[in-house]
């Protein structure tokens, strides 16, 4: 208990100006802003390459959207289970919070599996990182780079969520892990937000 008290609040030198609840939350927001610049750069680069290419294939025809629409829906669902986990933790129900955290991680794991299936399928049809039968070779390069970068974020997120699940299980007081779960949630929703952008710009447009 004394250890938990020293982690939360007591040793913090001053109140974080932007996020009065914790410095950790501000830290995560700043990390996410940096990460967003990374994704923003990739998507902007994609947009500029595509706009100035004479033979860019139609992503909709090459990639298909049925599976990815399902993946989008899955990620939105996992965002909902994440907020539900936080909500139950706030109400003091540790078991329900742990269950919802597990569902969130499971959703992420299924998402990555579906992406692996999609990649395998596309590679068999000839979409490679250095060329493809439909047109500009940069189409394949940018597709694998952007979706791969996002897939890595989901994979990292699943590991992150599972370790937070352990933190929740270990701390006797539900309130003691509220902050950690909220910060993990920020990361997870960010990954969902990025996928909304990737789905729109790389599959639908």
């Amino acid at each position: 208990m004394s250890q938990a008290a020293s982690i939360h609040g007591a040793v913090e030198p001053a109140e974080s100006p932007l996020t009065p609840e914790s410095w950790g939350k501000l830290g995560m927001w700043i990390f996410l802003a940096g990460d967003a610049v990374g994704f923003g750069t990739l998507l902007a680069g994609y947009g500029a390459m595509r706009a100035t290419s004479a033979d860019w294939p139609s992503p909709y025809d090459v990639l298909g959207i049925n599976l990815t629409a399902l993946m989008t829906f899955l990620l939105i669902c996992s965002s909902v289970t994440m907020v539900k986990a936080l909500e139950w933790l706030g109400k003091g129900d540790k078991i329900r919070a742990q269950n919802f955290l597990f569902y969130t991680a499971l959703g992420g794991a299924i998402f990555v599996s579906l992406q692996a299936y999609e990649w395998t399928h596309l590679i068999h049809r000839g979409l490679h990182i250095n060329g493809n039968p439909w047109g500009a070779s940069l189409f394949g390069t940018s597709f694998f780079l952007v979706t791969g970068f996002h897939g890595l974020h989901v994979t990292g997120g699943v590991i992150y969520l599972l370790s937070i699940l352990r933190v929740v299980a270990k701390r006797p007081q539900p309130a003691a892990s509220y902050n950690a779960v909220e910060i993990a949630g920020l990361y997870w929703h960010f990954v969902d937000l990025v996928w909304i952008m990737v789905f729109t710009f790389m599959y639908l447009l």
Binding site: T19, S22, W29, A33, G45, D55, F73, H189, F201
Partner: protein, 109 residues
Amino acid sequence: MATTEHKHPNYMAIFWYLAILTVVEIAVIYMPLAKFTIGVLLCALALGKATLVAMYFMHLKFETRTLGMVAVTPLVIATLLIFVLLPDGFAVMKKTVGVKASTTEPAKH
């Protein structure tokens, strides 16, 4: 202290908004509209969905204004970057279009 809990919005309502907007996005690409119009609609819908996630799931609506500005900055940078990259892209295009037209066969559809 550590856990000042802000109130939770109606998450299920946000979920339904997101689900409906996703269906609308997919419907838009089948609509008999100009390509440009479809593009603008899709961008607007994506931004709408992203805003919903950030405001309610990430609780940005309940945070300080300055944190919101931190969150919006990358979007502004990325948008500007597109215009920074375009001149280079067009320069490459000018060089390659002529070459490609003479060396490659017309695409088979």
